[in-house]
């Protein structure tokens, strides 16, 4: 048996004519935070649902915590915590009753359940409203509760399906910081279509499109290795025709708009670019290397924008 917490082999799911998940292979290490990044309809949720034993794979298999998803679903359900994409709560229960329900279903010891619930409610900022029925909660509060419900039985593997979908940036950041605390302690598989989320949180990112994992690596690896061009952006006075010509003769792409010059080439040396501009007579106010984003990676690989 391997030490991988999640091992996916040729996992496939077909709905009618639609191949939702198309033979993916993936291993996620124990304690790793892995982000599946992709647009809506890429197959992220279908993948998670198969791993949680809610959907049968059409082909292939996977194991979670060493248990087979096709044959040992109840063993898997003992050790996973799931926060589904839709905020699915029981409207007329309060936060603590939710934690009690899920804790008791998992057979958590009562004293431990009480202590853990207190801690979870406190860290998520829900302690004060713990006795209010959840239908009176804001979207952000429901999300936070949804995540701690998945944690109340101290699972080995945590599935977070779009944990911050539809939240405002501030609420999103609170949740990110909270999820980040579990890095290294639990194996977490998170899906998102927010680049910043995958970038901020994950140890590794798998970019998913049309049911396939099209790129895999750390956020840094993806950004650096997948891109074959670099860009330097310069803000300067005196960007004369002479300056432009001097740069064009040395670099593949030069674009000038309103005192801003974008220089693009396969190899770019920052100092060399600045020196060339100087000697051509430009007065540089600022210059920086444009950081590649996962968005760039995504566009490069799939030819589409990530955001809808």
């Amino acid at each position: 048996m391997s030490t991988d917490a999640i091992q996916i082999e040729n996992l496939t799911r077909i709905f009618g004519n639609l191949v939702a998940v198309d033979g993916i292979d993936l291993s996620i290490r124990q304690g790793e935070l892995f982000a599946l990044l992709g647009p809506n309809g890429a197959g992220k949720t279908t993948t998670i649902k198969m791993l949680c034993c809610l959907l049968k794979p059409t082909g292939g298999t996977a194991s979670v915590g060493g248990y087979d998803i096709n044959r040992q679903s109840y063993n898997i359900k003992e050790i996973i915590g799931v926060s589904p994409q839709e905020t699915t709560l029981s409207e007329r229960l309060n936060a603590r009753e939710h934690l009690n329900l899920f804790g008791r279903i998992h057979g958590v010891d009562p004293a431990e359940l009480k202590a853990r619930s207190d801690m979870l409610l406190e860290t998520m900022g829900l302690a004060e409203r713990a006795k209010d029925q959840v239908r009176k909660y804001s979207g952000g509060m429901m999300r936070r509760l949804s995540i701690i419900i998945a944690l109340v039985h101290d699972p080995e593997v945590l599935f977070l399906d779009e944990p911050t979908l539809g939240l405002d940036p501030q609420a999103r950041r609170v949740i990110w910081e909270y999820i980040a605390r579990f890095k290294g302690k639990k194996t977490i598989l998170l899906t998102t279509h927010y680049l910043e989320e995958a970038d901020y949180l994950s140890d590794r990112v798998g970019i998913m499109d049309e049911g396939k994992i099209v790129a895999l690596g750390t956020s840094f690896e993806l950004k650096t290795s997948m891109l074959d061009t670099h860009t330097i952006i310069v803000y300067a006075w005196n960007l004369t025709q002479k300056v432009v010509e001097a740069m064009e003769s040395n670099y593949a792409g030069v674009k000038v708009t309103d005192g801003t010059m974008e220089i693009t080439d396969k190899q770019l040396d920052f100092k060399e670019v600045v020196d060339r501009l100087h000697s051509a007579g430009a007065v540089i106010r600022s210059a920086h290397i444009k950081e590649p984003t996962l968005d760039d990676v995504f566009i490069q690989i799939t030819g589409k924008e990530l955001r809808e």
């Binding site: 034993c53 809610l54 109840y74 699915t88 029981s90 007329r92 329900l101 899920f102």
Partner: protein, 365 residues
């Protein structure tokens, strides 16, 4: 106990919703009140029946003068000649006439002495009026049986016969109305699970190691409490409206309760087959409406064609009506109802098993 935890959650979700609670408890109340308003009026139904007494014993006379005349909705007219009665029936002046054959008095007195003897009454009635004849047959049957079983000394002349049972329209319709109310538990039961499916909460529970039977029983346990409350309201309501309870209240409750379990089980089957309220709703009607027709809660199943009667008897509700009328009107005891009770209990077990199997199948698509 996961079943208990789930049941508590379902119960909280129900009683904290005033609208849902109002419906679940208010519906039986409104239902009984409406029923009361419709049937409580004195002249709701009255029948003229002719009696030809060919036996002409003190017993047959007592039967005519005391037992039959004691039923408020009956107008009893004596005839000497069956041919004249038939004429009146044809003209519509009578709803039916009965002939008390010679030997009737002897048969009754044998029954009184504890020997079983067949009692024969010949009744002629207008077939075209289905509702009336249906009730008439039931009334005759009931009144004759109670007459024949009353334990009094054989010295009739000295002691006038006292008939305790007074059959009214409410007595006849009451059990049917209660059974119809119990049929409405089917959509109620289905809704409680389907709502969780639609909102995704069930999918979330499905990521926990809860087993199919625990889900079904968790939902059902909450519904059992609702069913008990509803049956109590129904029974008190029917009693307040004048339905006699001759036999054991507990036995009648048991009959209704087992039927309630069957309804909950059907609801679980429907819920396991559907993914949304839009799917569950028509499925529920598909079950409950034909079952209402076949149960005998609106009209007796005796008038159904034989193949429909076989179908009707395959479901619990016709048995419930028969058994509950036997307890409530005739005071029949546990030993006589054993078969019906076993049938209802067996049916409940089987329908729950089917529900669990279907739910298991739907857990992972």
């Amino acid at each position: 106990m996961r079943i208990f935890e789930l049941a508590v959650r379902n119960f909280k979700e129900t009683y904290r919703d005033p609208l849902a609670l109002g419906f679940l408890l208010g519906f039986p109340l409104v239902f009984m009140l409406l029923f009361g308003a419709i049937f409580s009026s004195e002249d709701a139904a009255s029948f003229s029946i002719g009696v030809i007494d060919d036996d002409n014993t003190p017993l047959s006379q007592a039967f005519t003068d005391e037992a039959l005349a004691g039923i408020s909705v009956l107008e009893v007219i004596d005839y000497n000649d069956a041919a004249i009665a038939l004429d009146d029936l044809t003209l519509g002046e009578l709803n039916a006439y009965i002939v008390i054959p010679p030997g009737f008095g002897e048969q009754v007195s044998q029954n009184w002495q504890g020997k079983e003897a067949d009692i024969i009454l010949r009744m002629t009635y207008d077939e075209s009026d289905i509702m009336l004849t249906e009730q008439l047959i039931s009334m005759m049957n009931t009144v004759t049986r109670s007459f024949a079983k009353i334990e009094i000394p054989v010295t009739i002349d000295a002691n006038p016969i006292h008939i305790e049972t007074e059959i009214t329209y409410v007595d006849f319709m009451g059990p049917g109305i209660i059974v119809f109310g119990i049929l409405i538990l089917i959509p109620t039961s289905a809704r409680i699970m389907v709502r969780d499916k639609e909102k995704g909460f069930l999918a979330r529970l499905l990521t926990t190691p809860t087993r199919p039977a625990e889900f079904i029983l968790g939902y059902s346990l909450c519904l059992v409490i609702i069913a008990i409350a509803q049956i109590i309201i129904f029974m008190i309501g029917a009693w307040a409206l004048g339905m006699d309870i001759v036999g054991s209240v507990w036995l009648a409750f048991l009959v209704f309760f087992l039927t309630g379990l069957c309804s909950i089980g059907i609801g679980m089957v429907v819920a396991s087959l559907s993914n949304s309220e839009n799917q569950a709703e028509p499925l529920c009607w598909l079950f409950s409406m034909p079952l209402a027709m076949l149960s005998g809660c609106w009209f007796s199943i005796e008038m159904l064609p034989s193949y429909l009667r076989i179908i009707a008897n395959a479901f619990p509700y016709a048995h419930t009506i028969g058994a509950s009328r036997a307890v409530l009107i005739r005071g029949v005891g546990l030993e006589a109802l054993g078969g019906d009770l076993l049938f209802l209990a067996g049916w409940a077990v089987i329908v729950f098993a089917i529900g669990i199997i279907l739910f298991r199948r739907s857990m992972r698509s």
